[in-house]
Point group: C2
Chain length 175, copies 2
Amino acid sequence: MKFCSNCGGAVLSRVPPGDSLPRHVCDACGSIHYVNPKLVLGAIPEWEGRLLLCRRAIEPRYGYWTLPAGFMENGETAAEAAARETLEEAGARVELLAAFSMISVPYVNQVHVFYRARLLDLEFKPGVESLEVALFEEAKLPWKDIAFRTVGVTLKHWCADRARGTFTFHAEDIK
Amino acid sequence: MKFCSNCGGAVLSRVPPGDSLPRHVCDACGSIHYVNPKLVLGAIPEWEGRLLLCRRAIEPRYGYWTLPAGFMENGETAAEAAARETLEEAGARVELLAAFSMISVPYVNQVHVFYRARLLDLEFKPGVESLEVALFEEAKLPWKDIAFRTVGVTLKHWCADRARGTFTFHAEDIK
């Protein structure tokens, strides 16, 4: 049972007039409550060829390694969200470079976007959502302990692009 | 006054423990109702150097021209959303090519993403949200009657990239 955020009435699943899909419609006031995918924004912070990863202190994937990333907030740009999450999770200040990957994950209703980034100093330290933060050489990236598939895919593209000498934007899906 | 979608209780603005921003928190059950930016997905459908635009039959910007685009739905990928909106608004079937632009619009809490696309046939026709649909040569694009700044920015990048002979990805903000 769900309730209407506008009037507190009961929300039912129903196809509104002119629409093609069932929506959450309030039985009392008629409000339609759309539910849309969420954006997760992150960075790929680099320092002299090494990449900064965070080991997660929270579920899901407690103890696994990830790029700093999190839900974009209202009122900020994609780049601001990536820089904020990097500061919150890794205590790291970065200069954001180009957008690098955009990966749809329809089974969790998310789109993950990562920017390349240049770490500005080595004063990073774990935020409350991280157990530790560390720089990894490409040959020592913890491939078997990566928290999320979007992070693994992004790291693979980064390594391949770096080997080729050119970074390009990658848009793809994980289904 | 807002109500909790989980229990129907009163929702207040409050900073939850461990957080740094005020959230919509239910005074009765404690649920936190996060509000995040929405993704708008669209296409830049091309046919022999001409671009397909739709003239809007709905507000906002009734009567102005736009690329086919709309809110991404749960359960679909970014590319699927772009193709669906193109079919819904322009009755047009496309082969989606590369992601082309990603533009943050923080003052409306949206991120707009456009894919380049190849129109598969000329059987397009306006959907219920469009007054008309037409192909425009680059020299005849209706610059003064474009509905949204993200569409104008995307069209400008498309024309500049085409003149240069190379299409690249563009990430930017409108503030």
